[in-house]
Each structure stands twice: as structure tokens, then as C-alpha cells.
């Protein structure tokens, strides 16, 4: 299926319902509980087969936590994570035990942000990339492993001869290719990419983005693409979800979102991105204040203290995420009533 076309009436590959992740705040000799950080607070969205959903927001907004909860790299506090397996069953990833999860690992994998921390320096490429093959597929024979790894390395643009090298022989961009090879060796259906290019240099970033696009086409992958960089998200995603202090504030198809944002935060975020063109110097006033502490968020709409359109209602009531226009969800009391500026293509 060509990426970019997706039918909303289709059943989603992954559906997240009211996902919550609270981190306890502890202190003192006996590590008393003194509060909670609501890293992810009631987040719901769906990802359809073959698409790329972008999850964007500033640091501490809970986008990485959401991504890691979906793969159960961390355990969510509450909510459902419904995944449709290749066999067609729908399972709730949130409630499965470690053993029950293992067969699902074949179908969902992760690409990490830091290509240095995510490769074990004690293992060579062959061992790193074939680890999932050994554990999940139970492949014992070295020849088979070598063959599969060679195929995979070639696919991500690395020479199979490098199989016996250790990660210290590779640069950041190449390491990220290794990380991608490891994630894709089992031919998963869903790939969660957590800031896959933000640790890379500008000139290498494009290579990795191109590779991800190409692999998506070749292997019909579905991506959840987490990033803080709006330009990258706009470039690679079909749909984009914007997070702010643990909540989704807006979700829409990429071009719709960028052309006609419905949430004031999205508007401000887009305006803040510096455009690499000296002729277009943004004249608008930047957003005032700072992202609130998720352990102690403001009342009502979390964005109201910084929102230029704020009304008394915003302070009292938290707006739910609602479909304001077909396929365009926003969590704002005045979604559609404000005239917000997007980015003209």
C-alpha cells in the first residue's frame, strides 16, 4: 500500500485509549511518596497500517514516555494499548505479562534516539543485529544468522563485510543504520522511532530520513515518529499529534495541521520554529512563559496561562480532545472559532 493514503474507516493497527503514566516522586531516608509526575495524562489516538504518525512536543511533554509505554519499555499506569496482530487478533499490550509480550516483539520494534547508548559496545554487528533472531526465532546456526544479518545490513546501506566490527568502528549516522537494522530484522509491522535523527548532524540527518522513508515503502512499515523538531515531523509524517504537558492538544493530517492549526499552542509552536530563510524573519511575538511542571500543572486547560486567546472558561475547565473538523481533533474550548495562523507551503 502506498504510504500517505489511508482510510479512516479501516481498523487501526494500534489504538491507544486513555493512556496514563504517573511517575512517583519520592524523597528522604525511607523514600516517602510526596507526589506524582503526570508524564502522560489520558492520551488516546490510533495509528493505521502503513502510515506515519508524528508525536511532537517540547521536552517533558510526555511524547517519549508515550512511545515507550506502547512498547512496554515502561509499564503504563492505566489505559489500553490495543494492537492488531498479524493474525488479526486485537490484544491489549498494556495488560500482558512479559512472557505474553514476547511473541508480539516480532511485530513491534523501536528505534532509539542516541545511537551511542543504544548499541552494546561489547557486541559486534552480527551479535547485535541477530540478537532478536536468536531470542525470538530461535535461530541457532551461525550461517543462517550471518545470511540474515548480511541481507539486513545491505538493506540499510551498510556493507555486510562489516559484520564482525564493533560499534566503536562506526560514526553516528552509521550507528543509527545499525539500530534500524536491528529493529527491522524481524520484519515488524509497527516501528516506534523515538527522536531517531535529533542526535545526528544536519548533513547525516537527511540520509537517515531518506532511509526510513525508503524502508517504509519496501517493507510496508507503520511508524510512530516521535520528535521535537517540527520540520522533520512535517517532512516525514502523514498525521501529526501535538502534546503539551502530558496531554494531546491537537491531532490532524500533516498538511491540514500545518496549514490550519486549531489549537493556539500548535500555532505558537509553529511560529517559534526558525525558518532557514533570512527573507522571512518572523515578526510575531514569541510565546511567553514556560512549560509548566507536570507534577503541578495549572488548572483547567494546561495552556491557558500562556495562551493569548485565554478566556475565564479556560482557567476553570479542561477542554476535551474533540473532532472539530473531519479528521482534525483539537483540545480547545474555542477550536475553530479562532483564526490561527499556520505555515503557508
Amino acid at each position: 500500500m502506498p504510504a500517505g493514503t489511508m482510510a479512516q474507516d479501516e481498523k487501526p493497527l494500534l489504538e491507544v485509549r486513555s493512556l496514563k503514566k504517573y511517575f512517583p516522586l519520592r524523597k528522604g531516608f525511607f523514600r516517602r511518596l510526596i507526589g506524582q509526575i503526570r508524564a502522560v495524562d489520558d492520551v488516546s489516538f490510533a495509528i493505521y497500517e502503513g502510515e506515519t504518525l508524528g508525536l511532537v512536543g517540547e521536552s517533558g511533554c510526555g511524547k517519549t514516555t508515550t512511545a515507550r509505554c506502547i512498547l512496554r519499555a515502561i509499564d503504563p499506569t492505566a489505559g489500553q494499548i490495543l494492537f492488531r496482530t498479524a493474525a488479526g487478533d486485537v490484544v491489549d499490550v498494556a495488560t500482558l505479562s512479559e512472557d505474553e509480550l514476547r511473541p508480539l516483539r516480532r511485530e513491534m520494534q523501536m528505534i532509539f534516539q542516541d545511537p551511542y547508548a543504544s548499541l552494546n559496545p561489547r557486541m559486534n554487528l552480527l551479535d547485535i543485529v541477530s540478537e532478536p533472531l536468536i531470542v525470538i526465532e530461535g535461530i541457532k546456526s551461525r550461517e543462517e544468522r550471518v545470511q540474515r544479518v548480511a541481507q539486513m545490513l545491505e538493506m540499510v546501506g551498510l556493507r555486510p563485510e562489516y559484520m564482525l566490527r564493533y560499534p566503536h568502528a562506526f560514526s553516528g549516522g552509521q550507528r543509527q543504520r545499525i539500530v534500524i537494522a536491528r529493529a527491522l530484522v524481524l520484519h515488524p509491522r509497527l516501528v516506534v522511532a523515538d527522536e531517531p535523527v535529533s542526535a545526528l548532524d544536519v548533513s547525516v540527518r537527511a540520509q537517515v530520513l531518506n532511509l526510513m522513508l525508503r524502508l517504509q515503502q519496501e517493507l510496508s512499515l507503520t511508524y510512530l515518529f516521535v520528535s521535537h523538531d517540527l520540520s522533520v515531523v512535517k517532512h516525514i509524517c502523514n498525521r501529526v499529534a501535538v502534546m503539551y504537558v502530558g496531554k494531546l492538544v491537537e491531532l490532524a493530517p500533516t498538511e491540514e495541521l500545518f496549514a490550519r492549526p486549531l489549537h493556539p499552542y500548535t500555532e505558537a509552536l509553529m511560529a517559534a520554529v526558525p525558518i532557514p530563510d533570512p527573507r522571512i524573519r518572523s515578526a510575531m511575538l514569541p510565546l511567553e512563559g514556560e512549560v509548566p511542571n507536570p507534577a503541578n500543572p495549572p488548572s483547567g486547560c494546561y495552556f491557558h496561562p500562556r495562551c493569548r486567546y485565554s478566556q475565564p472558561l479556560c482557567r476553570e475547565q479542561a477542554p476535551p480532545l474533540q473532532e472539530a473538523q473531519p479528521g482534525h481533533l483539537a483540545a480547545c474550548h474555542f477550536a475553530g472559532q479562532l483564526s490561527l495562523r499556520g505555515v503557508s507551503p
Binding site: R205, K234, H235, R279, S282
Partner: protein, 346 residues
């Protein structure tokens, strides 16, 4: 003729002498800074942009050392002994980095905005203590006057209720406030030149926009010159008036910001600009990426440092000789054999 520059860096070389070999972090960098101008130093990791900034302040730490070139600075306030002055300029590269002359320039004439505001404050001293110290180092004021100046600076950079923040520690402030406080410290003595070393890399876009706005307005009000070091082409386009593009310790191209972004001459600049996804590029298309990766500083390719990744690579020329920076058009300079034929011979 343009007005005289306040800083003129000529063929600056800063090398790091490691056990494994010599890293030529900055290898022949030249550019000028005029009063009231924002010069952007842009490049990817390992291009030597930060080391250039530190070399100007002479705070490169061993095993790094400025080994050649001139850093001609025209003092605006401090009087430097005549012996070291030549037609109004002091060559900072010749001064003792720990000596009194250099110290009287640092902070007072040329100030630094560092990359990590959190780590750049001592965590066990209050913001106020560190501000007052910076003020009293270069101005003959007493404790109380210095305190008033410090509060004034904090107010100028938009720190709410400065009296309260004055007694706070850096880790008690939010990221944005910390960034403002560090700018207040850099401005403590009204420097003529500000070196901003990736000042917005560690912060979020909305905060970055605030900081950029603040810097822009401060610069306009005080007619300060700024050397703005960053890897983000977007930021450069928004703040700089003149851009210096670096690659592997060398300047590959420099020129007015409009020229660099709209008629780049060097293949590296051209490729770099094409390869970045922006809010204005067509979505889900293959980007014209630059092939390969940045060579390790130990293994600088011979000849033009960019030639192994260059699409216009000319065998026999680019890999043999190193191009020099030469004027192309107007104020734009580039260092490429495509634009300047290689000298014959050899």
C-alpha cells in the same frame, strides 16, 4: 569603504596536541566583525566553530593551543599598553591567555554566552553573587552599587522579580530564566562584542524564540556586535547579518546572510541547504542528502576537506591542493576550485 571592523580574525589556527596525534580543530579561519553586526558561525559537529569562539577569548584549554594567526581586536574601553597596540588594534593571539591584559578584555570588552546555562553557573553560589562578581571585576563600584547594577541587568533581560532571583541558586530557576540570567551576566559590563556559543541548543523551541528575540532587541539597543555560533541554519537565518560557514576547521564560504541562503557558491553550502527538511519543503519526499559522514578530525582528507563528499569533485585538483578563501561576488567569499582555478604547477 565599510567602517573599520572591531575584530578581525586572520588565518587563525588552534590545534589540540593529543597522545594520538594533532587535531587541527581550527585551521586557517579568517573573518571580520563590525560594530552592531551579528556574525553567524555555522557548521556541523567538529567544524571548529566553538573552538574559534574560545580562541578569540583565549580560553582554549590544554592540550589545545592557538598556534598561529592573528586575532586583531580594537579595544573600546580598556586601555592596553601602546607596545602591544598597532594602529588601534591589539593582537589577542599574542597576549598571555592568563595575563592581565587578556583578563581585562574578557568580560569587559568581549563576553561569552555559553552553551549550557545550567552548568555555567556554580551550583553552590547564588546568581547574585556571580553577577556582582562579574560587575566588580571590571568596574570600580562597591558591593551595593554592584547589586543595583546586577538587578538592573536582570530586569533588562526580562527576569521577573529580580530581587528574589538575586538570592536564588541557578538550579532553582527554570530553563528559560537560567538562560536569561546567563545573558545578564554576559552583559554585566556592557561588552562591545558578545560571543554566543550555541546559546539555544539546550532549550525548547518556544523558549528559543524568546531568547532569540531578547538577543535581537538587546543587540539593536546597544549596538553590540555578536558572534553567534550554531549548527542550526534556521537560527542563523533569523539572527545573523553575515554568515561564516565552516567545515572541518576551515571557512568554506562566508558572506551576507541573504547571499549565503539565496545564492550559495560553495558546493557544501549548497548541499547543506538542500538537505535540510524545513516547514516549506514538500512532505514525504527524498531529500537530496550529502553522502558519507564527517571525517574524524584525525583523518582530515588531503586537499579540500570536503572533496570526499563533494558532487563536483575534480580528481587531481581537489584532493591534491587546498583551496583558499577568495572573493566571489560583492562581500561573498568562498574557498573552492570551481570558483577559483587551482594555481598551476606542483
Amino acid at each position: 569603504m565599510q567602517e573599520q571592523p572591531i575584530l578581525s580574525v586572520r588565518d587563525l589556527r588552534t590545534y589540540f596536541f593529543l597522545d594520538e596525534g594533532i587535531v587541527r580543530a581550527v585551521d586557517g579561519v579568517s573573518f571580520e566583525v563590525r560594530a552592531g553586526e551579528v556574525v553567524g558561525l555555522v557548521g556541523e559537529s567538529g567544524c571548529g566553530k566553538s573552538v574559534t569562539g574560545k580562541s578569540i577569548l583565549r580560553i582554549v584549554e590544554p592540550p589545545g593551543r592557538v598556534v598561529g594567526g592573528e586575532i586583531l581586536y580594537r579595544p573600546q574601553k580598556v586601555s592596553i599598553q601602546k607596545a602591544q597596540q598597532a594602529n588601534g588594534f591589539v593582537d589577542l593571539a599574542k597576549l598571555d591567555p592568563m595575563g592581565r591584559e587578556m583578563r581585562s578584555i574578557r568580560g569587559a570588552e568581549i563576553a561569552l554566552i555559553p552553551q549550557e546555562p545550567m552548568a555555567s553557573f556554580s551550583p553552590v553560589h547564588t546568581i547574585g553573587f556571580q553577577l556582582v562578581e562579574a560587575i566588580r571585576l571590571h568596574q570600580a563600584v562597591d558591593e551595593e552599587e554592584a547589586r543595583l547594577i546586577a538587578l538592573e541587568r536582570l530586569r533588562e533581560v526580562g527576569v521577573p522579580s529580580p530581587e528574589q532571583r538575586f538570592h536564588a541558586y541557578s538550579w532553582e530557576l527554570s530553563g528559560g530564566l537560567r538562560q536569561r540570567a546567563i545573558i545578564a551576566m554576559a552583559l554585566a559590563c556592557n561588552p562591545a562584542l558578545l560571543i554566543a556559543d550555541e546559546p539555544t541548543t539546550a532549550i525548547d523551541v518556544t523558549t528559543q524564540a524568546q531568547v532569540l528575540n531578547l538577543l535581537r532587541s538587546l543587540q539593536r539597543e546597544r549596538r553590540m556586535a555578536i558572534i553567534f555560533i550554531t549548527h542550526d541554519l534556521g537560527v542563523i537565518a533569523q539572527v545573523a547579518s553575515y554568515v561564516v560557514v565552516m567545515y572541518l576547521g576551515c571557512v568554506v564560504e562566508r558572506g551576507p546572510v541573504e547571499d549565503i541562503f539565496h545564492s550559495p557558491q560553495h558546493p557544501y553550502t549548497q548541499a547543506l541547504l538542500r538537505s535540510i527538511p524545513s516547514l516549506r519543503t514538500p512532505p514525504r519526499s527524498f531529500l537530496p542528502a550529502i553522502e558519507g559522514s564527517i571525517p574524524h578530525p584525525f583523518n582530515r582528507p588531503p586537499g579540500c576537506p570536503f572533496h570526499p563528499r563533494c558532487r563536483s569533485f575534480m580528481p587531481g585538483t581537489c584532493d591534491r591542493q587546498q583551496p583558499t578563501l577568495q572573493p566571489v561576488q560583492g562581500l561573498q567569499w568562498a574557498s573552492c576550485f570551481l570558483l577559483h582555478p587551482a594555481p598551476q604547477g606542483r
